[in-house]
């Protein structure tokens, strides 16, 4: 067993090391490298996946509203940060919109989370009475309604209707999404390891017993739902920054499914699993399998099947294989830890010694 201070010290140095590595990578490699796309998008999806895991994995509420809350976050962020000078150009059909102020990026990001949380609070009352599949259907429906709602003409002066929102501040360095997502995930981990996290898990394991232990089901479920939506909202804000322009029609149900896939592949109930699988997922879907989309010749031999879209076929097969062979995801419900790695290597060395 390592003592607590030592553990904290190692964790801090690892984080500092990671950021230093990212910083150096950015100086050395060309900024157009796919690596940075993967790192930026991976960090954002890691945050959203962890927020979904808090709800689906730790509280046992099967919700599919994540894309809806991301949309709310993204729009809140974009609307509040477009500089006054650019508003006329962005809201060209709505006389520059009706929002007459611009907020700084951090405040807008926090507000993105808060607005998403408020929506969660409001729909939580009716929706959280439902269980399992029914909850999934209701939240999915909510996300679809939100998408349509934000494209409504009447809201044009605020949401720019179905037109693009753009010209809001973005980030240029990969350190930014890492820092924001990192802080948010850290807070979620703190919550999960607190008394409330235990209560969430108790609700997941047995609602009736949890209630008999004095846990107010409605209140605690609402809390998990709001917290999860808050961080999904912040994730949505980050996604807007990454994409540099957003449109409500992009936040489809398929985005929720992607996040759900990340959660399931990483392991339902494992934070580090979600983070890990987020980067792997984004890397395979955006980068590593790109070559499959190009027509390829080996010598004069034309490789069959390789054409635009084949990447997705292979990707689906990989996902099926992962789900078949790792029923509980990469990490199961376990967490990745320094001690765990230490144990792994010790066991490995012990085995080697035995073999000799």
């Amino acid at each position: 067993m390592m003592d607590k201070n030592k553990k904290i010290l190692i964790s801090i140095s690892l984080v500092v090391g990671l950021f230093a590595l990212l910083f150096i990578l950015e100086q050395v490699m060309p900024s157009s490298s796919m690596l940075f796309v993967v790192l930026k998008k991976g960090a954002i999806f890691a945050l959203v996946a962890v927020s979904m895991n808090l709800l689906n994995g730790f509280t046992g509420l099967f919700s599919l509203g994540q894309a809806g809350f991301m949309l709310i976050g993204a729009y809140t962020y974009a609307i509040l940060t477009i500089p006054m000078a650019d508003r006329a150009a962005v809201y060209q059909y709505f006389d520059g919109g009706i929002i007459g102020f611009t907020l700084s990026v951090p405040i807008a990001l926090i507000l993105a989370g808060i607005i998403a949380a408020i929506f969660a609070f409001l729909i939580g009352f009716p929706v959280l009475r439902l269980k399992s599949d029914y909850l999934a259907i209701a939240t999915l429906g909510f996300a679809e309604i939100i998408r349509a709602f934000f494209q409504w003409d009447v809201l044009g002066p605020i949401t720019n209707s179905s037109n693009l929102l753009r010209k809001f501040p973005t980030f240029s360095t990969v350190l930014y999404p890492f820092a924001v997502a990192g802080i948010c995930i850290f807070v979620i981990v703190l919550l999960i390891n607190s008394s409330y996290g235990r209560v969430f898990k108790a609700i997941r394991d047995d609602e009736i017993a949890a209630e008999a232990m004095g846990i107010n089901l409605a209140k605690q479920k609402q809390l998990a739902f709001i917290t999860s939506s808050f961080f999904a909202g912040v994730g949505g804000g980050l996604l807007a920054m990454y994409q540099s322009s957003i449109q409500a029609s992009a936040f489809k149900a398929s985005m929720t499914y992607e996040i759900l896939l990340i959660v399931v592949i990483g392991g339902v109930g494992s934070i580090t699993g979600s983070v890990l699988s987020s980067f792997l997922f984004i890397a395979s879907s955006e980068w590593w399998l790109r070559f499959l989309d190009a027509e390829t010749y080996i010598g004069s031999f034309h490789v069959p099947l390789m054409r635009s879209g084949f990447r997705k076929v292979v990707f689906s097969i990989i996902i099926m294989i992962v789900v078949l062979f790792y029923r509980k995801g990469i990490m199961g419900t376990k967490e990745f830890s320094i001690e765990g790695i230490g144990r792994f290597f010790r066991r490995l060395f012990a085995k080697k010694k035995e073999a000799q």
């Binding site: 703190l190 235990r198 898990k201 017993a209 209630e211 008999a212 232990m213 107010n216």
Partner: protein, 280 residues
């Protein structure tokens, strides 16, 4: 005079046309072990569920520590359908969710053990400490409540030690042997600091040896934690040995009450369990 802990008055629970509990009245005094027995399907667990707020009773009231906690009269569709008695006696409607009732001081265990299966033994007990805590979600997340958290952990550890579960505190609750799971479930209920403990068939599935140990265990926790116990049980030797008073239910109706020796010789009880002898 001993203090009255729980009073159930004219409690009826009707599902559709079935009166599962019919006009049940009982009371439990401070420091007693009271048993609720009866053949299968007599309505014992339904009565428990009414007392703990899982069901809203169709008619009747329940008082806890002298205060009315649950009260109801037939409403809506039940107004016409209700087949029980005393339907005009209770005008007020009071109902609480199970968590509120636990907070008032009634803890329970379940007939088919309900532990939190992915949590360790220690965490199972620790969860029950949550309801008495003052923390908010912010203070808990940012560790501003570490004193309270520390106290909850210490109390849980003490409880586990007293129950002889300290050695297994880090194992998963569901990987414990059956007898220990029962014991853990009772410990978890005790962690909510109850005044009244409801045990639903604590000896179900136990062999005579384990039942014997359980009997001692129940008496021991009653004295140690100063709780009053109301239990449902089928093992007659356990019931006769440790209960102060016994209520007998049959087809939802109370057919007898009294001390163990009175019940053993009660002709109605013998009839209910063995069937009526023709011509006797």
């Amino acid at each position: 005079m001993t203090q009255n802990i729980l009073t159930v008055e004219n409690l009826s629970m009707q599902f559709g046309g079935v009166l599962a509990v019919n006009n049940l009245s009982l009371n439990v005094n401070q420091g007693e072990i009271v048993a609720l027995i009866g053949p299968n399907g007599a309505g014992k667990t339904t009565a428990f569920n009414c007392i703990t707020g899982v069901y809203e009773p169709t008619n009747g009231c329940v008082s806890f520590l002298g205060e009315m906690m649950i009260s109801n009269h037939p409403k809506g569709k039940m107004k016409k359908l209700y087949a029980g008695e005393n339907k005009d006696l209770y005008k007020k409607v009071i109902s609480h969710t199970p968590d509120k009732i636990t907070k008032l001081g009634i803890a329970r265990t379940f007939q088919n053990i309900r532990l939190f299966k992915s949590l360790s033994v220690f965490e199972n007990v620790l969860v029950a400490k949550h309801l008495r805590a003052q923390q908010t979600v912010f203070s808990a997340t940012f560790r501003l409540n570490h004193l309270e958290e520390k106290r909850a952990r210490e109390e849980s550890l003490d409880l586990l030690e007293e129950q002889g579960l300290l050695a297994v505190k880090d194992t998963l609750a569901t990987s414990l042997p059956y007898g220990l799971q029962r014991r853990l479930e009772i410990s978890r209920a005790l962690a909510t600091n109850p005044t009244l403990l409801l045990l639903d068939e604590p000896a179900a599935g136990m062999n005579p040896q384990e039942t014997q140990e359980l009997a001692e265990f129940i008496v021991q926790i009653k004295n140690k934690y100063n709780v009053t116990i109301l239990m449902i049980e089928h093992h007659m030797d356990l019931v006769m040995k440790i209960s102060d008073r016994i209520y007998v239910l049959d087809f939802g109706k109370l057919i007898a009450e009294g001390t163990p020796s009175e019940i053993q010789n009660n002709i109605h009880v013998i009839d209910a369990y063995l069937g009526v002898v023709e011509g006797a």
